[in-house]
């Protein structure tokens, strides 16, 4: 069982790289959705099959794998955008940065004061790598929708870490977190639509009118 956990986390890290390098928005959304689905499978594997983890599994599957991608697809259909433009530092530099962050995550994770049974697992490197990828996407991309995807990946990274701490998070809080994310994406979709109506594009570089 433990081996599959490592494989899933590895797949999540590989998906990070894939998202950093692709420019097709539909592919990005599908990749983030599959990352969410993979992560949803982790709680029962790590903590055993019980009510709490099964509820978490279904909730995460429905919201991260179903509703949020649907909202995002609707958003890009409404603004009729299908491709991202060249990021601020270029795709190759983004990929290299992402790889450096992942490498740094692996190196750093070995020096953290972790519990003994967490020491050689892939949880912490996967967390740091996914957080870094989300952050990179937020900073370097120009289209609003990719920034939203960066935020989602950031949240995925936090989710990975929270799996280690299942007992601390009661169902109420987990449900609240998922719902919050859902509503946040919903609102972001609406705002993106308004941006598109205002500027006929969702290139956030247009949003620079407010100055001192």
């Amino acid at each position: 069982m433990a081996n599959i956990t490592n494989e899933i986390l590895l797949a999540v890290i590989l998906l990070n790289f894939f998202i950093l390098g692709t420019s097709r928005l539909a592919t990005c959304i599908k990749t983030v959705a599959s990352q969410g689905i993979l992560l949803a499978l982790l709680p029962p594997l790590v903590h055993g099959v019980n009510g709490h983890s099964l509820l978490l599994l279904t909730g995460a599957l429905i919201i991260k794998g179903g509703i949020i991608p649907w909202l995002l697809f609707r958003a890009i259909r409404q603004v009729r955008i299908r491709r991202e433009i060249e990021p601020r530092i270029g795709y190759i530099a983004t990929l290299v940065l992402g790889a450096l962050i992942t490498a740094g995550a692996f190196l750093f994770a070995d020096h953290l004061p972790l519990l003994p049974h967490h020491l050689h697992s892939l949880f912490i490197p996967a967390t740091l790598s996914t957080l870094g990828t989300g952050f990179l996407l937020l900073i370097t991309r120009r289209k609003a929708i990719t920034q939203v995807l960066g935020y989602l990946i950031f949240e995925n990274g936090i989710f990975i870490f929270s799996i280690l701490l299942a007992e601390a998070m009661p169902i109420l809080v987990e449900a609240g977190v998922l719902l919050d994310m859902l509503v946040a994406i919903f609102v972001m979709g609406i705002v993106m639509n308004h941006i598109n109506r205002e500027y006929s594009s969702i290139n956030t570089e247009h949003l620079s009118l407010l100055k001192e």
């Binding site: 890290i13 590989l14 190759i92 990929l95 290299v96 790889a99 692996f106 070995d110």
Partner: protein, 304 residues
Amino acid sequence: MFSSIFFHILLLVGLSPLLPGIIAKTKALVAGRKGPPMLQLYHDIWKLFRKGMVISKTTTWVFRAGPIVGFAVPVLAGLLIPFGTMDALLSFTGDLILFVYLLGLARFFTVLAALDTGSSFEGMGAAREATFSVLVEPTVFVAFLVLARTSGSLTLDTMLSAGAKGELFHGPATMSLILISFCLFIVLLVENCRIPFDDPDTHLELTMIHEVMVLDHSGPDLGLILYGAAMKLLLSAALVLDLILPSAGNVVVDCLAFVVGLLLLAVCIGLVESAMARLRLIRIPQLLVGTTLLSFFALILILR
């Protein structure tokens, strides 16, 4: 001993023209056509060897040297690689460097021969080919690093026998080896100018990369080039297969398995070619850098 040498050379020299034929047949069948016969390349090479040559007056000895080097180098490099469980004929510590640079030498001479003609099309193709090779070389080195680390030795023979030991399926380095085999497959596609990096069937000069470099060769020279390219394909496929194919214990079964594996890999390449289109030129460096990073990632996994 002698039989293994004999079999090694026979496989390298005899089987290699079959592979491009299988690829072309697969592509044709997937596209709904009948396609050329699988032994077509044998006939083509035989025909070319009996033809006369036309040599441009602007070329020098480099132009003649290119195909000869292009034929000799794969033979030499093939001596360094094990085929399945059949050991390499020549092996010493650090021969992986020799391997990589032998292939580099062949490429160098092909590029030079293209530049030697003085035609702009060849120069353009040569530049592109050189760029792709530069971008893919780190992947090869990192892949070899990973293999060196898992096997603990610096001879290609031991490194590549990881597959024979079945390490791909169980053992501490499974994920890394899977990633590395994937990267080496991409390297195969790049080095042998297959889709999605280069279209071997295109007849538009502006879209050719490898094809345009050999545009001016004719007769026996062209035959040597085609033969050399087929052998290079076999070598790259052997690299990938060595990692994947587990050993069955019996020598005969292993040899047969290796041959069948080569043919299946050729079918795979044909399927990949049918499924994709050639990438836009600006995307190819991105993909190659991505592959390099993937191999680095495999290295990190193994260093933990």
